[in-house]
């Protein structure tokens, strides 16, 4: 199957694989900051840049991600407006959003690994989400609370 939505999801799934490797390193830094017993930091930021320089560089990447997100959103909005009739336009937006979200999230995700979490949270606010469909699609399985751990 080669429809664009499926392809986008597959690409997004693939991005999680290298991401999961990077996550382990990021996880150490994050968990360390949450560990009340840690006696020393294991953060790997060995750059000779000052914290201000690093923050500025990270902010620049976040700004770049936001600009790309805005561009993608504009494209999605433009395509939706071109669709005939309001109801079909709304449906078009729903089907187009996952692809845009996939590309946008990939861009934003790269920024998250380099910027502070609080800054990244701002960068990801613009990511579009498919919501508001009148009824839930039929599901093939359910993820849920287990009966026991």
């Amino acid at each position: 199957m080669t429809d664009p939505t499926t392809a986008a999801r597959r690409v997004a799934a693939l991005t999680l694989i290298p991401t999961s490797v990077a996550v382990f390193g990021a996880g150490l830094a994050w968990a360390n900051s949450h560990d009340p017993y840690a006696s020393s930091s294991s953060k790997s930021g060995t750059s000779s840049q000052t914290p201000d320089d690093q923050l500025a560089a990270a902010q620049a990447k976040v700004d770049d991600a936001q600009a790309k997100l805005a561009k993608l959103q504009a494209e999605v909005d433009g395509r939706s407006a071109d669709a005939a009739g309001q109801s079909s336009a709304a449906a078009g937006a729903s089907s187009a959003s996952p692809s845009a979200a996939g590309a946008a999230t990939t861009t934003a995700s790269k920024a998250t690994t380099q910027a502070k979490a609080t800054t990244v949270a701002n960068a990801t606010v613009a990511a579009p989400v498919v919501v508001g469909a009148p009824a839930a699609p039929k599901v093939q399985t359910v993820t849920k609370a287990s009966t026991k751990p």
Partner: protein, 321 residues
Amino acid sequence: MTVSTDLAVTFTSMASDIEIRVVDPAPGAEEAVDRAVAAIGAIATHLTRFDPESALSKANRAPAAWHDVPAVLADAISAAHSAHRVTHGLFDPRVGATLAAWGYDKSFERIQTEAVGTTSWDIEIHRTLRGAPVARATWEPTVTGTVINLGGSPIDLGGIGKGLAVRHAAAALADAGRSVLVDAGGDEWLAGPGPDGDGWKVGVEDPLGRDEHVLVLAVTDLGVATSSIARQRWTVRGVPVHHLVDPRTQTPGGAGLAAVTVLHPDPAWAEVWSKTLYLTGAADIAASAAALDLAAAWVTVDGEIGLSAAIRPFVLWQVTR
């Protein structure tokens, strides 16, 4: 015209309904399913702490001693140790002692019908009220082949066991067919494009008990796990507790959260991260998921739904309220 018949098996293990489904099965699929069922059975047999004769129970009775154990248990201890290190201790299988002190030393169905409470509970309730950190060293088991040493502490592998079962089953089913589903009571592996060819449609249960799903995800080649307090919660001497214990305080964790769902290429890590993210609580989970770049969704005790950036491409539908 070729008419394909899906291959499906359901059974009960680890106190859960297990489902294995192969879409457009390839030659040898039935044997692959048999291997997957056996792999899940091995996890259930050797990793349970509710059977005093299991390999884990025997090791737990002498946690400072060396034991020659089945390979599946040695592998699980290594995996749990990796999770402990990567999460910097937030994943800690030693919380089983706290669960036992709260009466969870038997299958969950029996907790609410039998007396609970030990002298240690008085200590735990004191900690609950104080919210004080509990100082403890890093867990350092040793695994050499199939010879293990638990490092002096009994452990509970419930926080990773189902994820490992799904991981092993998924490996056994790698070439079984066009698409594969393994569902171990909500911890899942979803391979291939699914029955309709556009991803497996996964409903995310509403942890607050409403019939409608909170999300529908479209998933391909990923593990899915949900950590939730929808079912495993009870009271001890009037104090509400649940099974997701914060090792930093030895008290019920995840303040303000009802459930967390994580997508990850490895089902075992999906389970580890869903539990670990849950423990960060409602106030910190968004920043934590973003910092870790995890594909995560969560529901607060007030019913609010949160999404990380990485999970948004997989969201097919979200409930509106």
